[in-house]
């Protein structure tokens, strides 16, 4: 759209420019004819001049207005450029080129017309410029003032036109009076000039020059355009009757505008650095807050805040560090300092320890005279003799600091400390936020990990109960929220006889699930070649020992099921099994050591197989410590005795199956814990002879 608009505008400009040139040519031709016929001052020739003059003013008005539309003041630079253009135009306009009399030759006619055209253009350009300048910073009154000024100017123009045509001079007084009134309004309209304060020192100097030149040119132009005898006055009057008034008014306004802005600029010049700093701080803090809101990147935050603090205080270098219990003092960013210099500055963490005691930033004016830093001033005086230390606090905790240094002593003022304080406090908020976000991400990750661990465990465990010829086996498992490492599986050993394995990997979560997966692979591969349960467990230890983390181990129990209920049981550090017989339940606890704790040679000496026979009215219970160590809300343990008495009862009941025993036990354990938080997986395998 904008492109279409601007091309449309430039098309219009070209159109009006062509018309204006045409009109100007018409003027020249008519002037030449009038001059040749000696009727230059006749009424007809004057009327033609006035009409063509009007036409030219209209065209120029359109051109200037169109130009203003395209060249909006998007920046201060745009404004300064336009100001400069105006001053050049005005400079040319006030140069006394002609002699003020009627033209005497074609070249004079041509010259006078071109000069008149330039002056008309200049006057209109000035009007539009002032209109826009007033609107740079509008107040509720601006629009009313400008309207009054424009209407007044047009009125004065018309009045002057009539005055010239009728030669009634009393109007001139009226025009002068009107101008005085409008000048007051103009003066009021340039009331708000706070935009001047916000300019940088350099911009102010430019503005000072522009307004000074504008004032001089404005006064000159004003003097000329009010004076009847001046070349400018005559030239404009020649161009169109009455237009000299427009120039006079515009020049007056320009003078007032430039005068007011000039003094404002001049007086605000000494405050420039202060205002510049405030502006810088303001925009920096806004920028910092945006960074803090957009990213959780702490590194970037430290880097930004350090750099901003250095710039705001005009320090020669800066650095920042964070402090936490795990990693101690960590340098987070450095500006114009190398690692060695920071080490020298923070010798034995002197800066960090000092910063930790601070609530507000402090200004160390001269390190050589400061009780804490005196001792190291010699070693760092080449690059740091004064510094500001600003603590970063998250809640009550000291989390780090920003340090700005200067190579000269007494380099920082109260203002600098305040600036650093502003940065430090917004950085503190940002760090706090980032920490909160990180914490919630951590929690999210942890929750995901729990789910992943459980899913792995679910997939690793057998999906169905085994169908062995002479045995009835029922396994059930209730995973804890955080995977506890319970594992079980069923195999056929080398001779085809069945073997049941139950295991508990130490540790929890993903790491337990990982070892579970490893165990599954190893056990499946080794079971095919093992002839006894003991060999299977020994081989598992031989394979896994040395591949596991030193503090990890797996407890397990393997039951090799032979014919006629013959069972060979080995225990590698696992919770004992229960053999439930009509006459009583016995705890089965063969000698053994957890897998992963000892080298194969030693491990073998620790393991002993125990032989049992399982009769049809009996049951063998394998389980993990999640069952007997289940707790209720009073933190009481379910315990082995309670388990024994429950299975004793249920097993001796008529028609008790492996499944019904298992369900009863699981039900009772869960009822006991009564939804108390389940800390560990609970796994139970019930083995009976097939009926």
């Amino acid at each position: 759209m904008r492109e279409a608009d601007s091309s449309n505008n430039s098309f219009k400009t070209i159109l009006w420019l062509s018309v204006a040139l045409l009109v100007l040519t018409g003027r020249v031709v008519s002037d030449v004819i009038a001059l040749a016929s000696g009727s230059f001052d006749s009424t007809i020739s004057s009327a033609i001049r006035v009409l063509l003059g009007f036409a030219f003013i209209a065209c120029t008005g359109f051109i200037v207005w169109g130009y203003a539309q395209v060249h909006a003041y998007r920046s201060r630079r745009d404004f300064a450029k336009d100001f400069t253009r105006l001053l050049v135009l005005l400079f040319v306009a006030v140069l006394p080129f002609g002699d003020g009399g009627n033209p005497t030759g074609i070249s004079e006619v041509l010259f006078a017309n071109i000069l008149g055209a330039e002056r008309i253009f200049c006057a209109l350009f000035m009007v539009v410029f002032l209109y826009r300048a007033l609107n740079l910073q509008r107040t509720s009154q601006t629009r009313r003032y400008t309207r009054v000024i424009i209407i007044g100017t047009v009125g004065a123009f018309v009045t002057a036109l009539i005055s010239e045509a009728t030669h009634v001079n009393t109007f001139r007084v009226l025009i002068l009076l009107l101008c005085a009134v409008l000048a007051i309004i103009m003066y009021l309209a340039v009331k708000r000039r706070t935009w001047v304060h916000l300019l940088s020192a350099k911009e102010k100097r430019t503005l000072l020059l522009l307004t000074f030149v504008g004032m001089i040119l404005g006064i000159v132009s004003m003097a000329f355009s009010w004076s009847h005898t001046s070349e400018l006055y005559i030239s404009l009057r020649e161009a169109t009757y009455g237009f000299q008034v427009v120039m006079a008014y515009a020049s007056t306004f320009l003078t007032i505008f430039c005068e007011r802005v000039f003094w404002t600029t001049l007086f605000s010049l000494p405050n420039s650095s202060m205002i510049e700093r405030r502006t810088f701080e303001f925009s920096s803090v806004a920028y910092l807050n945006r960074i803090a809101a957009e990213s959780t990147d702490i590194e970037k935050l430290y880097a930004t805040v350090t750099s901003l603090a250095m710039q705001a205080t005009r320090g020669s270098a800066a650095w920042s560090f964070s402090l936490d219990q795990q990693s101690g003092v960590q340098v987070r960013s450095q500006e114009r300092l190398n690692v060695k210099q920071i080490q020298a500055l923070n010798d034995a963490d002197v800066v960090a320890e000092f910063a930790a005691t601070l609530v507000q930033p402090v200004n160390i004016e001269y390190m050589a005279e400061h009780p804490t830093f005196r001792y190291l001033s010699r070693s760092v005086e080449s690059f740091a003799q004064s510094m500001i230390i600003a603590p970063l606090r998250s809640g009550r905790d000291f989390v780090g600091a920003i340090i700005v240094t200067h190579a000269q002593p007494f380099s920082f003022e109260t203002d600098d400390v305040q600036a650093v304080s502003a940065f430090a406090s917004s950085a503190s908020v940002a760090i706090e936020n980032a920490r909160l976000v990180e914490d919630s991400l951590e929690k999210e990750r942890y929750h995901k990990e729990l789910l992943v661990g459980r899913e792995i465990q679910r997939k690793l465990l057998p999906q169905t109960n085994p169908q062995f010829d002479k045995y009835e086996i029922f396994a059930s498992s209730a995973p804890a929220l955080e995977v506890g490492g319970d594992y079980y599986d069923f195999y056929h050993l080398a001779d085809g006889s069945p073997c049941v394995l139950i295991a508990d990997v130490s540790g929890k979560g993903i790491s337990a699930a990982f070892y579970m997966a490893k165990l599954k692979g190893v056990a499946i591969a080794l079971a095919r070649h093992a002839t006894t349960a003991q060999q299977l467990v020994e081989d598992i230890n031989a394979t896994l020992f040395g591949t596991m983390e030193r503090q990890m181990y797996i407890t397990m129990m393997a039951v090799h099921l032979g014919s006629n209920g013959h069972m060979s049981i080995v225990r590698a550090g696992h919770t004992p099994a229960l053999l439930v017989r009509p006459g009583g339940t016995s705890v089965i606890k063969p000698r053994g050591l957890g897998v992963g704790l000892a080298k194969p040679e030693f491990f073998r000496t620790c393991i002993q197989t125990e032989q049992y026979t399982l009769r049809t009215d009996e049951a063998l219970l394998l389980f993990t410590d999640g069952i007997n160590e289940a707790r209720n809300h009073q933190e009481e343990e379910f315990g082995l005795e309670r388990l024994e008495s429950i299975v004793q009862d249920v097993t001796t009941q008529r028609g008790a199956s492996a499944e019904s025993i298992s369900q009863k036990v699981m039900h009772d354990v869960l009822a006991f814990s009564n939804h108390a938080m389940q800390h560990d997986d609970m796994t139970l395998i019930v083995i009976r002879r097939a009926p």
């Binding site: 508990d504 130490s506 540790g507 929890k508 030193r550 503090q551 990890m552 181990y553 407890t555 590698a572 550090g573 696992h574 919770t575 004992p576 606890k589 000698r591 053994g592 050591l593 957890g594 704790l597 000892a598 620790c606």
Partner: protein
């Protein structure tokens, strides 16, 4: 839940590390750090006193395995003493009595170190 604390003392070249409270997955790293520090100080004869330890979990047991080989390689040892029955059961089930010397009295453990020297 009871806190977990560790107290350290030395007797000639023997370091005595006493455990109090609950040693579980959350407190195991604290114990591991302390034991590591003792060994880094060049102490390789270590007695861990369990008299005031209420509970130990599988993660707590793992800590002993981390250091035992290194200590024995330097002719030292970690000996365990004065366990409450509950805690001993956990060690016993896992087979720790086959890996570590466990004494009812700390005095006996000290004497054992003395007789070896």
């Amino acid at each position: 839940m009871a806190e977990f604390t560790i107290t350290k003392s030395t007797l000639d070249d023997i370091a005595i590390v006493s455990l109090h409270g609950f040693l579980d997955a959350h407190t195991a790293s604290q114990f591991e750090q302390t034991l590591g520090e003792v060994i880094n100080q060049g102490m390789h004869k270590i007695i861990v006193n369990f008299a005031e330890l209420e509970y130990i979990s599988s993660a707590g047991l793992g800590v002993f395995m981390v250091f035992i080989e290194g200590v024995r390689a330097k002719n030292g040892d970690i000996k365990l003493a004065e366990m409450q029955p509950r805690v001993f059961t956990v060690f016993d089930l896992l087979g720790f009595p086959m890996l570590f010397e466990i004494y009812e009295q700390q005095q006996d453990a000290i004497a054992k170190f003395g007789s070896n020297a």
